[in-house]
Symmetry: C2
């Protein structure tokens, strides 16, 4: 595949699906009659928690790395990430024989750091703020001539993330609504492009914690908004939109539904109990949206992209000891 | 399908698969490269935790109920069970328009009792011992002329359970070993018959907690052995073999691997972390076997039947508060 420099076309997304096929799993779509009866919605869950490295991020990283020229591959890649994107770049780079340099904030969970090292990447410490992380990556670029791989705001990454919805529509073509969480917007913008090209009758909505409703406010104001704090349990959604993801979301996403933290935990627990899948809090935000706003979803056929399952079993929000410790 | 009165044939298992198809999910087979690398075995997990009612028991119950005559369906069915079999009979009976009467010990978990009621079954209390349960069922049979549905020791149930391995072999035909946990032996005997007819090159082994190693001892002594106590965390495996399941297991199961309780918990946690699936302790017993006896499994292609995912999220064995409470 060639490098994508403009909003991905239908052909770009098809090419991306083909290019990344050897590096990803085609994940199953799960459904639960008892959950559907409880919520009053026909729900189809695209289980990217079963994706390689445990999250959809593998798609975008594989796509971005596959688009590099032989000369760029030779130089190696760099990114900064505290979690799934770090593992995705490290894993895809190893599969493609590319050297990966990953800047990780010192507060990153130890298992994610260990997994990234396990994929053979070189890991560098940085302070947790975005400026420090970017500065560390920039220094590595200056020193080694590395290629930067954005976690979301890159048309190649967006084309990769778009393939999850494409697979879901392949199994369930007649969806009324496609629902994806929104953080930096890579997944939501890719999902929106896929529906636009391959299922134009399907509406695409975002789902976002009310605590970090920057995407909701960005759609209202027409410019990229930030967050005053990032105190949501949905740790994958603490980032803000980029220019490219915002441009696509503005054009193709119909609405963003905001949800409360308590509903995210309830929805996460329901997914564990009814679907029998381990998912991270971000993955539960779309189901939470359908629980908080039943009027919007009632009787609809809704596809949900389950973002990932990388969660610490020692710190489950519905563990009794943790619940008891809460006010 | 007709009622099966002798050891199921290949044709019986094929007929069972067809008869129960409308009432069950064809569950996915999952695999994890990182888990395989860790264990040193190529593992394929048949995810019956995604089955209707959250366990493989739905197959056997649906098969037994489909084999009833119209006159028997009219009379209704009865069974006794503290867990998955209760839900399976209740759910299959509702789907087939049959009245279900379920005797449940008073110690049965409240969610399982509620789920059984939720499927429209009539639930009756009994003391937890097997004699009391059977007596309560017998009284209902005498009073209402109900048909008894055994949880395992019935050739129709065995034929139903056999379909899980048949689906797995449909996706992964070249397995060296098929591994299933053994409690009352319905799943293991069905799995053994499926391999015997459809994959004779595949060995079938059982996996059992050392705490309740009655099946291991039964194979050694040549008669059905009991357990002095049932203190295993694998609550689905606390029962003993029946005449029919023992006969089949004796003939077609090569060996039974026994595992320690601590390894079951470790294996369960690994399945949650690496496969991102919610499974009950019984489901982890086969993986525990491959962890305790690496020499037996090294480099083999091993299929594992994951029995179910009905576990209370409030009482996870790897929850920090529970671990801390342990000696």
């Amino acid at each position: 595949m060639h490098r994508i420099h403009t909003i991905p076309t239908a052909a770009d997304i098809r090419a991306a699906a083909q290019a990344i096929a050897p590096y990803i799993h085609q994940t199953p779509v799960l459904s639960s009659q008892s959950l559907n009866a409880l919520i009053g919605v026909e729900l189809y869950f695209k289980c990217e928690n079963f994706q390689r490295i445990g999250a959809f991020k593998m798609r975008g990283a594989a796509c971005a790395l596959r688009a590099l020229t032989p000369e760029e591959r030779q130089r190696g890649v760099v990114t900064h990430s505290s979690g799934n994107h770090a593992q995705a770049v490290a894993s895809a780079a190893r599969a493609l024989g590319i050297a990966a340099h990953i800047v990780m904030p010192t507060i990153a969970p130890a298992p994610k750091r260990a997994a990234t090292l396990g994929y053979g990447a070189k890991v560098y410490d940085s302070a947790p703020d975005n400026q420090s992380r970017q500065a560390a990556a920039d220094a590595l670029i200056a020193q080694h001539g590395l290629v930067f791989v954005s976690s979301a705001d890159d048309y190649n990454v967006i084309a990769g993330q778009a393939t999850a919805a494409k697979e879901l529509l392949g199994e369930q073509p007649e969806l009324d609504i496609l629902l994806a969480p929104v953080g930096a917007g890579g997944l939501l913008s890719g999902t929106a492009l896929t529906a636009h090209y391959f299922a134009p009758q399907t509406a695409v909505w975002g789902a976002e914690p009310r605590m970090v409703d920057d995407a909701y406010r960005s759609l209202q104001s027409g410019r990229i908004e930030g967050n005053d704090h990032i105190m949501t349990i949905a740790d994958g959604l603490r980032t803000v939109l980029g220019q490219r993801t915002f441009g696509i979301i503005r054009q193709h996403v119909e609405r963003i539904v905001r949800v409360e933290e308590a509903t995210i935990v309830k929805a996460m627990r329901l997914m564990w109990e009814r679907l029998k899948i381990v998912v991270e809090p971000s993955s539960a935000v779309p189901l939470a949206a359908s629980m908080e706003q039943p009027g919007l979803f009632e009787g609809q056929r809704v596809g949900i992209i389950v973002t990932g399952g990388n969660v610490s079993l020692d710190q489950l929000p519905f563990c009794q000891c943790l619940s008891a410790a809460q006010p």
